[in-house]
Subunit: 286 residues, 4 copies
Amino acid sequence: MAKRTAIILLYCPDRPGIISDVTNFITVNQGNIIYLDQYVDRVENIFFMRIEWQLEKFAIPEEKIEDYFNTLYGQKYQMHFRLYFSDQKPRMAIFVSKMSHCLYDLLARYSAGEWDVEVPLIISNHEDMRPVAQKFGIPYFCLPITKDNKAKQEEIEMQLLRDNGITFIVLARYMQVISEEMIAHYRHKIINIHHSFLPAFIGAKPYHAAFERGVKIIGATAHYITTELDAGPIIEQDVVRVTHKDTIETLINKGKDLEKIVLSRAVQKHIERKILTFKNKTVIFN
Amino acid sequence: MAKRTAIILLYCPDRPGIISDVTNFITVNQGNIIYLDQYVDRVENIFFMRIEWQLEKFAIPEEKIEDYFNTLYGQKYQMHFRLYFSDQKPRMAIFVSKMSHCLYDLLARYSAGEWDVEVPLIISNHEDMRPVAQKFGIPYFCLPITKDNKAKQEEIEMQLLRDNGITFIVLARYMQVISEEMIAHYRHKIINIHHSFLPAFIGAKPYHAAFERGVKIIGATAHYITTELDAGPIIEQDVVRVTHKDTIETLINKGKDLEKIVLSRAVQKHIERKILTFKNKTVIFN
Amino acid sequence: MAKRTAIILLYCPDRPGIISDVTNFITVNQGNIIYLDQYVDRVENIFFMRIEWQLEKFAIPEEKIEDYFNTLYGQKYQMHFRLYFSDQKPRMAIFVSKMSHCLYDLLARYSAGEWDVEVPLIISNHEDMRPVAQKFGIPYFCLPITKDNKAKQEEIEMQLLRDNGITFIVLARYMQVISEEMIAHYRHKIINIHHSFLPAFIGAKPYHAAFERGVKIIGATAHYITTELDAGPIIEQDVVRVTHKDTIETLINKGKDLEKIVLSRAVQKHIERKILTFKNKTVIFN
Amino acid sequence: MAKRTAIILLYCPDRPGIISDVTNFITVNQGNIIYLDQYVDRVENIFFMRIEWQLEKFAIPEEKIEDYFNTLYGQKYQMHFRLYFSDQKPRMAIFVSKMSHCLYDLLARYSAGEWDVEVPLIISNHEDMRPVAQKFGIPYFCLPITKDNKAKQEEIEMQLLRDNGITFIVLARYMQVISEEMIAHYRHKIINIHHSFLPAFIGAKPYHAAFERGVKIIGATAHYITTELDAGPIIEQDVVRVTHKDTIETLINKGKDLEKIVLSRAVQKHIERKILTFKNKTVIFN
């Protein structure tokens, strides 16, 4: 059984002394640091850090860590920081339309216990994936969306997310535009998989566009969605080689393997609290 | 010593019997086929083929092969075809501006005898690369280009290309737009290396744009230039992984290795006569 | 609905005229060739071919194609050939032990209708994967193997394979040595996934060995098993970059994604009848 | 012009407080940290760190930094550490036999000013590469090696290395075993490029072995040599996809591109002082 840990993800203007102050804070209070990674963006002059320590002998009561840390260092260094505890599992909602490959990949990992995550529900605009949800015993809510009912259905979705304490959303090939309200509420917490190496082939039918252009590689991109289409912070990308022999159909098939792996890598990083976003980019800790 | 061979690259509307007719033509006349690859584009219904055979015992006189082949099959199948002989070396002109990495890579291969090619001259709009040309003993023509002299300088370039019997041109990071006349004269015979995975980051400063967008992979693309910027048929692409830790400077450095390898792979395929273009795409034989 | 086709996979000593004879055989008899790929191994002087044609108007009755083809060309060219019809689905048995990632990947594709295959049963030496089999409604046979009962259990397995008309076997991380009898009976029809880039790290615990050696890439290899451990014909391999920061645990996790994708790519090629084996190597058609 | 910096590479048993002590040491003395990366090997319980700071206002005289650092922290933490100054360029000797691709790649980068390195000489057992050395104006010493003269020639080599203040050696496809004395003298300072993804295909003719085995990927490995053949700490590896269509000749050609890029990446990391070795592995800082 892994020991309970605390994790702090932070960024702030770079100044001398941050690392030594933060590590001192933990070691002086008997915390055992098991992870420390930091990065300085020298263009923006911003310091980023992820630190994790075992709580067993930590002198500060858990409920006071955030307050102490903020008082001592957060204010001093103008930090943006988040504190997590390892036993607070992220709660993931999956949105899906008609394709199963990403959904199966997510649920297979979840079901095998690979990830420290809860999946309280799956939301879809179609019935197609209900049998998959049932295989894994996960509640499935079908909310078909038309021009007329969009606002109302999204209200129901938001209510479902709230009721289930959802902390982040995965769009596993969900073919609907997400409302600005939901994006604002889950800022940099909605992960989408786009089936091209962004920024190439933004928008619909990227495989058709790739075929048309005659590219020799195709890709997939996992990113946090923002209100601008396919323009949010990129988390992970990968590509696969194709040739003139590939048809649109074989491109789509090769792409499916990319999509599911790239999406799952991004989801894993999010679950592990190893992603910080700044402006429109991500810092991904190892 | 490799035996002399003939190579035919052809395409035509797909119909039954082409392969058997073409292979019969060669084997009946005592040619020994050493390479045959074909491909059918089933969307466009076009048949593509590359065939190579040893000439040693071939019954048809070399100077008549083209005529016989055209009469017997070219017309029957409405073929576009080109006949090459293995001892007719392609003659390559290199255009370069100020960066040496692609130039060195091309000349090192040429100098080591890796490629069946002649390099009669290097053309540049700057003096910077003259010492590299001199190292390899290749004539270097510096034709600085301004708004006022562009037409005149290009005339000189065209004359140099004609005088040297140039069959194809490699733009080894040449930072000038090529004239429409030259593009028309060397249609699908001018290979450019663009420092992004096209169609992402068309135009100038792709590494800056990639940095700005926060991509996790960068790429390079070798393509035949056409009159539309960075939109010609793609020959070869490759990518390399980057992270948030990369600066514009390290992107540029990682990109250099991509650029030179991708360009050289494309040049090699061209030299080996393994590329056919159709509409705006390439068929690349193995 | 795709039209019914016939597929011939063949190899024989290379001689002039094979392609034209085979393509003539089909076109003369009104078959419409929709796939033709061939390859000549010039070291061994062996000709390999895969040809597929639509049967709609084919003049030769289906049950006589094999006989005619053999009489006309098989004997003339000393061919080894196999004839398949597109509506004869391969029947795949999956062998599994305790890990679910490859099993889920296979079943998700099967369940989504990506592959033209039947999966009549899953065989295991453990109970662990029964719930996964049940999710997909596939019969699961648990045959625990000890030193004492190995021969007897394998007899039962062979009987199950026969009763279910199994044409090929996929070892989806099955941690038992397969009997020589089964290997002989399913020669080059048992696909294994080995969790290293063979021939590196043959045998047990390759991730531990990779960690120990400090490699910067890890891989996975799908191959047909033979009686020599991890030495059969390689079908597909892929790799992923690792660093000094990876632990054995993270190597295993990164490796899982490789294993399942590499295995599924190999299985797909087998299902599509695009693999020929010769000596200890594979020819993989596109 | 980049400001002068000091770099410390260190490792020691992991204990709380190292990072804060080391960063304090620098910031208290007015050093401006521009690079800090650290890593803890939790299996071996070893802490690794690379730190770099600008010397402009640094309070401790340069010639005393090593002494002060050792007294204050080196002994306290049982550190192994090395101090470098950015203006002390590493001095690289290149050993080469008959192949030019790696040599050109190294010299093109050197000549273009990509690397902060000096190349005072090239040593070879053949005359073949002398023209390449001459192109770049680098002294070339040809020391042919036979069974009888090996010891004597190596003595001359060692003298040349000493006379030229060589700090590290690059074996750019040098086909001779290096003497134990030279290996001992340049411990983990001799970089070799092996033309396979080690540990597969150790020893001579790896491309022939790869062809024989029918692998679907080939690789190259840069490593520090030790007295055990091809078994030293791995610095960098990369691979490229191959198919059944590749011959030994095309494998060798594809491999050349891998070899030169992998070797140059390793050399760059060494020049940048971003490699630590521990036991038989490398820690590579970004």
